[in-house]
Symmetry: C2
Subunit: 149 residues, 2 copies
């Protein structure tokens, strides 16, 4: 495995790095979000997402995601609102406090991306983003539905 890691792990390593850094920064600002909550939270679409969609995106059961959303709701980051299109469903939406957290994370993400860009050079950094975005088309089953709102 040493030098020739598979692309999967190669993707995971910087992902985890970014994730840890963002979570650490949020923690310093008083938002102590566990990993599982963060992973669900970041998947919420701008106009809100259904539980079942979040479960699919996070590849976890509805019960699991339901309990994570409970916690996010108790902490005030999200809210469940009725889905106007379907009375059975609810949309998990980001509250003002949740939005504040999103805003807080933005500069951290930008700073790390800047580090990466410095290391790779602007061209390769752009190419990286472009390649990953293209890859998403064939690797994100959730992508098709994520434009709600």
């Amino acid at each position: 495995m040493a030098d020739d890691l598979n692309l999967g792990l190669l993707l995971f390593i910087p992902y985890r790095h970014m994730e840890s850094a963002v979570l650490a920064a949020l923690r310093e600002h008083g938002h102590d979000l566990p990993l599982n909550q963060a992973r669900v939270f970041q998947r919420i679409a701008p106009g809100g997402s259904r539980l079942a969609d979040l479960a699919e995106a996070a590849q976890a059961s509805k019960q699991t995601v339901g309990s994570i959303v409970d916690q996010l709701e108790r902490s005030g980051y999200v809210r469940r609102v009725p889905d106007p299109d379907d009375a059975r469903a609810k949309l998990v939406t980001v509250t003002a406090k949740g939005q504040e957290m999103v805003e807080l994370s933005r500069p951290v993400v930008r700073a790390i991306e800047a580090t990466w860009t410095a290391h790779l050079g602007p061209l390769r950094a752009r190419q990286l983003r472009a390649a990953l975005t293209a890859l998403r088309e064939i690797t994100d089953p959730y992508a098709a539905r994520s434009g709600r709102g």
Copy 2:
């Protein structure tokens, strides 16, 4: 978030895709490896890894990784051998059965990488791997130590 996902999530999506595919393929061959076990297993260096190193790589506590290694050991995928350099330590090494699983996963990884290459074109695919490998230098705290053996 919609179109302009942060690089973190952009990295995670194809990673998860690869991981699921490999695990599903292994399952079809009788190797039913849970996610947490797979994530530890894939971090074992060719010559064996210490528990503490695996814990750092997986960003989990020693106890957690210890119990995961217990399971991998019970299933016959790894073995603990004394570390010749330090009588306190043990090296977690991959057994023949574990190696078989590694071999089994190789073609699956290659197949998915081929799909990605087809989607991106050979040049961009090469660039992607190169960029990720370069990124590892500044995002993998474990990289320095991972060349054991």
